[in-house]
């Protein structure tokens, strides 16, 4: 398989077919997992090798579906670009959709750049029906599907891939991919935009793999879009429970959904709490505030003086504040360590309660500063050098 960027593919395709392919590689997001556009590989031509390029008119389209990647061949004819494309559905040789149920094939319009993309979406829909039909080979899995289908929260956002029977053991497996109806819109923007690439839509997908038809080996996995994963504290921050033995999806999926929702709520509340905390410190320390994180409210630096002794206090607020206690770093403005850094001491244990409001936390912090500074000053004089 030769991976190629969309630009390379567009450069090599026959000019008459370029608009059709452009909409696929640039805007082609199909299915639940629409974080990435559809991918094109293996560009080839139906013309002779002596035909001058660009004249490619057939390629492989990689389509994410239910945790798998479908590799379909799409065959045009550069000599007859007005003709509709033909398809080879990879390993799914038995998938034969009804042509009359593909409106964009019946009314193929080569002049409409969206026509190919729409046709692919219609084929995916037919493919989904085909996979659901295959579930009939297992009554247990069919029950799982039917029960989810009745729930409007999950029934319309589900992809199923029914695995092939093992010719030796006769086992039948399936994978359910569900889009969880969790609202991520209130997550602070700053948490979402700190990612390398444009992640697209914020989505949480739950994949549940049934390795056998009797549901004795079930493996769930939660997929979050990169921004959501970062906002919630990374991949290790959220652990979903194991699928209960003898359980079913209609009970398990809402449970995972609630867990994720609670986590999101906690993150949102944490943001507001941090903002309140910073606001309270600004109010209490006024001119002593050197700087603070005005976007995420995760940092605050104070310049304070006690008996002509000036010092800095760096406050670091964790993601799950107020559950997790802020870290205080005291720093002398006079003394250096042997490594040339300003002498500092970190304090993680001090009087604190997550139930205090921001005002109370600021007052208690102030009181703590007063009690700790003499000790810090002594340490600075003893261990630091001017």
């Amino acid at each position: 398989m030769n991976n190629m960027s969309p630009e390379v593919a567009l450069h090599r395709i026959s000019p008459e077919l370029r608009p059709l392919l452009c909409s696929v590689v640039r805007n082609g997001r199909v299915g639940l997992d629409s974080t990435n556009c559809l991918r094109v590989t293996d560009l080839k031509t139906g013309c002779t090798s002596l035909t001058p390029g660009p004249c490619c008119d057939r390629f492989k389209l990689h389509i994410p579906y239910a945790g798998e990647t479908l590799k379909w061949d799409i065959i045009f004819n550069a000599r007859y670009p007005e003709l509709p494309p033909d398809f080879i559905f990879g390993e799914d040789a038995e998938f034969l959709p009804e042509p009359s149920e593909l409106p964009h094939l019946v009314q193929w319009d080569a002049g409409n750049p969206e026509c190919l993309l729409q046709l692919v979406k219609e084929l995916i829909q037919q493919y989904h029906h085909y996979q659901c039909q295959r579930l009939r080979e297992s009554s247990r899995l069919l029950f799982e599907y039917d029960s989810l289908l009745e729930d409007p929260d999950y029934g319309h956002n589900m992809e199923i891939y029914a695995g092939r029977k093992n010719s030796w053991t006769g086992e039948f497996s399936a994978r359910f991919l569900l889009k969880l109806p969790v609202d991520f819109s209130n997550i602070p923007v700053y948490l979402l935009k700190d990612t390398a690439l444009d992640p697209g839509e914020d989505v949480a997908l739950l994949s549940v793999s049934f390795e056998d038809a009797e549901a004795t080996q079930v493996f769930p996995k939660l997929y979050l879009s990169p921004s959501i994963e970062h906002a919630l504290g990374g991949s290790s921050a959220l652990h979903i429970p194991a699928f209960p033995s003898g359980g079913c999806l209609i009970d398990y999926v809402p449970q995972v959904c609630q867990l994720l929702t609670n986590k999101v709520q906690y993150v949102i509340q944490g943001y507001h709490k941090r903002r309140e905390y910073i606001a309270a410190f600004l109010s209490h320390f006024g001119m002593g505030v050197v700087e603070y994180d005005a976007e995420g409210f995760t940092k605050l630096t104070l310049l304070l003086m006690w008996k002509d002794f000036c010092f800095l206090v760096h406050v670091d607020l964790p993601l799950y504040f107020p559950r997790d206690q802020p870290t205080l770093t005291f720093q002398s403005v006079y003394h250096f360590t042997n490594s040339g850094q300003l002498y500092s001491q970190v304090q993680k244990s001090y009087p604190y309660s997550p139930r205090w409001d921001g005002n109370e936390m600021a007052k208690r912090a102030k009181a703590y500063f007063k009690s700790f500074i003499p000790q810090f000053q002594e340490g600075a004089f003893a261990n630091g050098k001017l």
């Binding site: 065959i75 004819n77 007859y80 033909d86 080879i88 040789a93």
Partner: protein, 356 residues
């Protein structure tokens, strides 16, 4: 019953198909003409039950190329029969056994539209047995110095498409291990004319070789002669059986007659012994059981020893002397001899006793 389909094409037809399209600047397609045969083969074996299977053979004899793609079908695969008829010259619709497509740089599997068109073509031409020939030329080496042309045929069974091997006929067909049952078909006009002109020298009106008919006739004559000989043998056997039964009946009658004659002669030879008979009867009645006139074994004390029957006739013959036939005079002498013998023995015993 199993169906084992094969597709046969002569080297000339296949090479002309490839040659026509190999340099085409795009995909091409067309119709395939020929004939299809279905023969029932029965395999008889000692070790298992008779095995019956149907052999499907598709002979490709000609192809008709379409000038452009999608000539006889639309975007959803519906067949345009008018376009099909236009492609066929002289209304050869019954000779259409399938269609073909050359698809460059693609996999050797049927595509979505090809499957739909194939099913619709079967329905439109009312022929459930049709083939689809797929040719896929491609570059074998990156510089393009070597190309390959793969070809395969497909037939559909209940909407499942199976790959059927294409066998190319040649002068020396290596896979032919058994006798040819039918000749390879040929649609060339010149061939048919030649067969028509010279065929009557070798073939009779029923299509068989003349020699075959004559051998059959000879075989029938032999069979008739054999049957006649069998009938003759059967008749003679029956006559023999009858004679034998007559002979045995005659023998029985002869035996009986002789027996009866022999009895009468015996009666004639014997003198009249009325008086003797009466006397004989009387003596027998009075003295037959008398111990005086019977031969007996006596003890030393002159007492008769009782007879002990051992159960055999011989013993009876030994122990019981036939008294009836012995005369009383003979019995006395016998007793005397026995008495003397026993007396001497008795004396010996006495002597021995005295000695003790």
């Amino acid at each position: 019953m199993m169906a084992a389909p094969t597709v046969r094409v002569s080297g000339i037809v296949l090479s002309s198909l490839m040659f026509q399209h190999v340099n085409g600047d795009g995909d091409v397609e067309g119709l395939v003409l020929g004939e299809s045969k279905f023969e029932e083969q029965v395999t008889i074996s000692d070790s298992q039950a008779d095995h019956i299977h149907i052999e499907e053979t598709y002979n490709i004899q000609k192809h008709i190329a379409c000038h452009k793609l999608n000539t006889f079908y639309n975007s959803v695969g519906d067949i345009d029969m008018e376009a099909v008829r236009k492609l066929l010259v002289n209304n050869e619709q019954e000779r259409v056994i399938g269609w073909y497509r050359q698809r460059r740089n693609t996999d050797q599997v049927m595509s979505f539209r090809e499957k739909v068109v194939h099913e619709n073509l079967k329905t439109s031409l009312s022929n459930p047995h049709m083939i689809f020939v797929l040719l896929t030329p491609s570059k074998l080496t990156p510089p393009g110095s070597t190309h390959k042309m793969e070809y395969a045929a497909f037939i559909s069974r209940s909407r499942h498409f199976i790959n059927v091997p294409i066998l190319v006929n040649n002068l020396g067909v290596l896979e032919q291990l058994a006798y040819w049952k039918v000749s390879a078909s040929c649609s060339a006009t010149g061939y048919n004319l030649t067969m028509k002109k010279h065929g009557s020298k070798f073939f009779s009106s029923n299509g068989l070789l003349r020699e075959v008919n004559e051998v059959n006739d000879m075989n029938e004559s032999l069979q008739a002669e054999l049957q006649k000989a069998c009938r003759d043998v059967e008749e003679s056997e029956r006559r023999l059986e009858t004679l034998q039964s007559y002979v045995s009946a005659l023998r029985i009658r002869l035996r009986e007659k002789r027996r009866s004659l022999a009895g009468k002669e015996l009666e004639k030879d014997l003198p009249e012994q009325k008086n003797n008979l009466l006397l004989q009867d009387a003596v027998r009645t009075l003295f037959a059981r008398s111990p005086l006139f019977q031969t007996q074994i006596l003890t030393l004390q002159a007492f008769p020893v009782p007879h002990v029957h051992c159960g055999s006739e011989q013993d009876d013959a030994v122990s019981v002397t036939p008294q009836d036939s012995q005369s009383p005079l003979n019995a006395t002498r016998t007793n005397g001899w026995k008495r003397q013998k026993e007396t001497s023995e008795g004396k010996d015993r006495k002597r021995r006793k005295n000695q003790l």
